[in-house]
Amino acid sequence: METRDLTRPRGPIVIDIENITKDYVMGEETVRALRGVSLKIHRNEYIAIMGPSGSGKSTLMNMLGCLDTPTSGRYEFNGKNVAEMNDDELAAIRNREIGFVFQTFNLLPRSTSLRNVELPLIYAGIDPETREQRAAEVLADVGLGDRIHHKPNELSGGQRQRVAVARALVNRPSIILADEPTGNLDSKTGEEIMALFEDLYQRGNTIILVTHERDIAAHARRTVHLRDGLIESDHAGFIPEIDMATVG
């Protein structure tokens, strides 16, 4: 494991959320998934968000990923107020500022790696030549230069996740938001993917890792623990004892 560079200077703030809450109305009952969460994430941070199921971890991730808006509170993304954006503006933020990596890869099954990686560029309105060139470059970057015309079912799990990472990167987003990126992979392949994230981090990307696995979270430089819709702890580095207690 590499040394953790805690002395690295902090970049500008990318994500600034303050006291956000999220309520879901389920029939008669109101579920308070987030009860007032505040968090600042700087450029080129590598942060893990941990918490048991029901802690509000997924809700926070959806919020950070601009898939959802908070019930109350303030959310600024690169200084823009996300909480008050409409669906189209949120879509534009997701397209340009956020790269998603999912547990189940979420590739389009009938499209080649190249087409999958091109997809965000299509919605960004980039012309076909530039698009194809950039997608091929990013695929080469993640080590799949020879697999660009393969479809997902012709690739291994690790390769599929690399395609997903390439897709997340292709629009040069401000953050990469990975939700249990190794959950569907064996531990060896999982480590390879984590090495890829480490590499991306070293190259200046901002990575938000949502996971409940300690050894995965251990790759991050900062760990946020959630419990019952509140931040329980927020530490630089990784504190195994607290994590033990949280995951139980």
């Binding site: 898939l67 669906d87 979420n106 299509i122």
Partner: protein, 413 residues
């Protein structure tokens, strides 16, 4: 997003379910095909009729009990049925009044109720002969030509001779190796001597015109009865110049023959090329409306098919929609994508229907010996209607797809 991209996406999604897409498409094809083929055939016929084809021989008009357009029902039909038949006596009266005023006056009577079967030496024709009682003018008035032998003459009619002029079919069936002239055939229990054979005429409007035999009208009445028959009278003017004068005189003569007073309406129908044209146009109008209604129903059904398949598709592809939204597709991008698929199915089906419809319609027109046409107006209408169907029936599924919540959609398995 670029239009080309949307088309590409739509094509690739449709390609995944080729069978399903094609079946849905065929619904539209059938609807469009039915209207385009009928409109093409009718358009071709109408074009031909307006540009010279004549129903009757040149300068000919005809009197009959029933009108050409007997599509009318109920009271109108009843009105014609209750008319007096045109009797042979009246027809003869007319004939005498018009003698010298016209080139040909053909009195004719058809035994539609008898399926004529000619027998010679134990060999039989199919029981499909049309038996006609007429006079020497039948050939000219009905555009037949004599192959060989002789035509009926006035004496045959006067003496009600047992002579007969037969169509080509009779010769082919009964006399493959010998001349039929002066041979005696049996038909419906009567014997006739063949005096002439018609030249081959082929089929018109799908019916063979060679299954015919013509005997003197007087002989016809003796053998097949006169009581309930009505005589048709075809009159040919000497020339186009005298047509109108002959026409007016003929109507006067017919009124006298029928014993009509000045204040009574004509109780007979007058067929001329003009009246047949207008009869055709009115029939064509009815057929057009019919074809229109049928294809409208077919298209609505096909449209519902599209909507159904698109709804299924939206459900199946919920995950895909979630993925697209998570990486930045706006609702309107998703809407456009699904709408394009619906329009594409509809358009492809429609264009196939237009092409097939024009081909079949023109084949029909060719078979009816009409000019071939390309119905631009209907083709363009077809394309527009198909777009409207695609948009109309694709809008709701596309809207459903577009308004899916990305989080829910991503979670869908």
């Amino acid at each position: 997003m670029l239009f080309k991209e949307i088309i590409k996406m739509a094509l690739s999604s449709l390609g995944v379910n080729k069978l399903r897409s094609s079946l849905t498409m065929i619904g539209i094809t059938i609807g469009v095909f039915s209207v385009i083929s009928v409109m093409t055939a009718i358009g071709a016929l109408q074009y031909s009729i307006e540009h010279g084809i004549s129903f009757l021989g040149s300068n000919i008009f005809q009197f009959a009990k029933y009108p050409a357009n007997v599509s009318a029902s109920g009271d109108v039909r009843e009105k014609y049925r209750n008319r007096r038949n045109i009797s042979y006596q009246q027809a003869l009266h007319y004939y005498r009044l018009m003698e010298g005023e016209a080139r040909e006056i053909c009195l004719k009577c058809f035994a539609y109720e008898v399926k004529g079967q000619a027998v010679y030496n134990g060999v039989k024709t199919t029981p499909s002969l049309l038996i006609v009682g007429s006079n020497r003018s039948f050939l000219t008035a009905n555009a037949f030509t004599l192959g060989y032998g002789r035509n009926l003459n006035d004496e045959d009619v006067e003496l009600s001779r047992r002579v007969i002029v037969v169509g080509k079919m009779v010769e082919k069936r009964l006399f493959p190796h010998e001349t039929p002239i002066n041979k005696v055939i049996r038909m419906s229990g009567h014997t006739y001597t063949i005096v002439g054979v018609l030249a081959e005429k082929g089929t018109a409007f799908g019916q063979s015109q060679d299954d015919i035999c013509i005997m003197p009208i007087t002989r016809f009445f003796e053998d097949y009865g006169e009581a309930k028959r009505t005589v048709n009278i075809a009159t040919q003017a000497f020339s186009a110049d005298t047509y109108n004068r002959t026409f007016d005189k003929a109507i006067g003569a017919m009124r006298i023959a029928r014993g009509l007073r000045a204040d009574q309406e004509n109780d007979f129908e007058i067929y001329s090329n003009d009246s047949l044209k207008s009869a055709f146009v009115s029939i064509a109008g009815v057929v057009r409306v019919g074809a229109f209604v049928i294809s409208f129903i077919a298209l609505v059904a096909a449209g519902i098919g599209i909507m159904n398949i698109m709804l299924v598709s939206v459900t199946e592809r919920t995950k895909e929609i979630g993925i697209r939204k998570s990486i930045g597709a706006r609702s309107r991008d998703i809407l456009r994508q699904f709408l394009t698929e619906a329009v594409f199915i509809s358009e492809a089906g429609g264009i196939l229907g237009i092409v097939l419809g024009i081909i079949v319609g023109d084949m029909l027109a060719a078979w009816l010996q009409a000019e071939l046409i390309f119905p631009y107006g209907w083709a363009i209408t077809g394309v527009l209607v198909c777009s409207a169907i695609g948009i109309g029936f694709g809008l709701y599924p596309a809207y459903r797809a577009a308004s899916l919540d990305p989080i829910e959609a991503l979670r869908y398995e």
